[in-house]
């Protein structure tokens, strides 16, 4: 998939995953790359950016195996941003659908073929 496509919406996807509950890096990466074709590493710079702009906070939690994990928690700022992004995305996706849907319409009616 076009990487420019992904770039714009990945922040929103990460926020949406954290909206379901606090999570740590590996799980966020797993959740994202299981449905979108993506390098697992991609989520880490995004998480870092979201933490620096106040959309998420982090805390350490012990794990049974190995060192403590860094959990990410969605803040009210992050939740607001998610709602706004979702709204924008839905409007945008609908508009794009309408545009590319027209192409489908042409295919259905058939572009006049040259005999």
């Amino acid at each position: 998939m076009n990487s420019q496509f992904k770039k714009g919406v990945l922040d929103m996807c990460v926020l949406a995953i954290l909206d379901k509950g606090d999570s740590y890096g590996y799980d966020v990466a797993d959740a994202l790359s299981s449905s979108i074709e993506l390098a697992d590493g991609t989520v880490y710079p995004i998480l870092r950016k979201l933490a620096s702009d106040g959309s998420v906070t982090t805390y350490l939690k012990e794990s049974q195996n190995g060192p403590p994990r860094k959990y990410y928690h969605l803040t009210p700022i992050g939740r607001n941003r998610l709602e706004q992004d979702k709204k924008e995305w839905r409007g945008f996706a609908k508009a794009v659908d309408e545009i590319i849907g027209e192409e489908g319409h042409y295919e259905q009616t058939g572009i006049p073929e040259e005999a």
Binding site: G25, A39, P45
Partner: protein
């Protein structure tokens, strides 16, 4: 590529970031390996799935540097706010620290330097008086001379202490004033 190689490569590619940030990032990616290994994956597979370390480093640097340049106006204001708050706290701290700790301490050090200086002057005056009085010592001349020599040594020691004291006192004052200015202007 195994875990060590991946982290090493990532560290090299993150070269231009601060030590603290690099340490933070490396620890997070290392935790990714730990979590993946616990789920039964190999280091090589995990490194593969993470994507190339060069790409990851680039993504990290875009996240920190590019948006700063491209940030919209209101966000710049929002980012500046805490800085001024912080420097206000720093200014209050500087004032109180100076009033309660630094200035009394500075005066005490200054006073002890003055005391050493006065002691040196007193010892020199004593020495001069002793030397002037030597001719009248008579049979105690030898004792008088050795006393004078002892005072000369004491004077040398005092002078060295005084010179070193003044030097470090001046240096310390200079650094302390510099440190104050730094905190005053930039916060902690």
């Amino acid at each position: 590529m195994n875990r060590q190689e991946y982290l090493k490569k990532l560290e090299t590619c993150l070269g231009s970031m601060s030590y603290k940030e690099v340490k933070d990032i490396l620890s997070e990616i290392d935790t990714h390996f730990v979590a993946g290994i616990a789920k039964g994956k190999t280091e090589e597979a995990l490194a593969d799935e993470l994507g190339s370390p060069e790409y990851l480093a680039r993504a990290y640097m875009e996240g920190t540097q590019l948006p700063k340049a491209l940030r919209k106006q209101p966000e710049i204001k929002a980012a500046k706010q805490p800085v001024t708050d912080d420097s206000a706290v720093a200014k209050i701290f500087v004032v109180f620290f100076n009033l309660l700790v630094a200035i009394p301490l500075w005066l005490a050090l200054l006073a002890s330097i003055v005391v050493v200086g006065l002691m040196l002057l007193g010892a020199i005056a004593g020495l001069v008086a002793l030397i002037l009085a030597l001719p009248s010592f008579g049979s105690f001349l030898a004792a008088g001379i050795s006393l004078a020599l002892a005072i000369v040594f004491a004077n040398i020691v005092l002078a060295v202490i005084l010179i070193l004291g003044i030097k470090y006192f001046a240096l310390g004052t200079k650094y302390y004033v510099g440190w104050n200015k730094k905190i005053w202007h930039n916060g902690f």
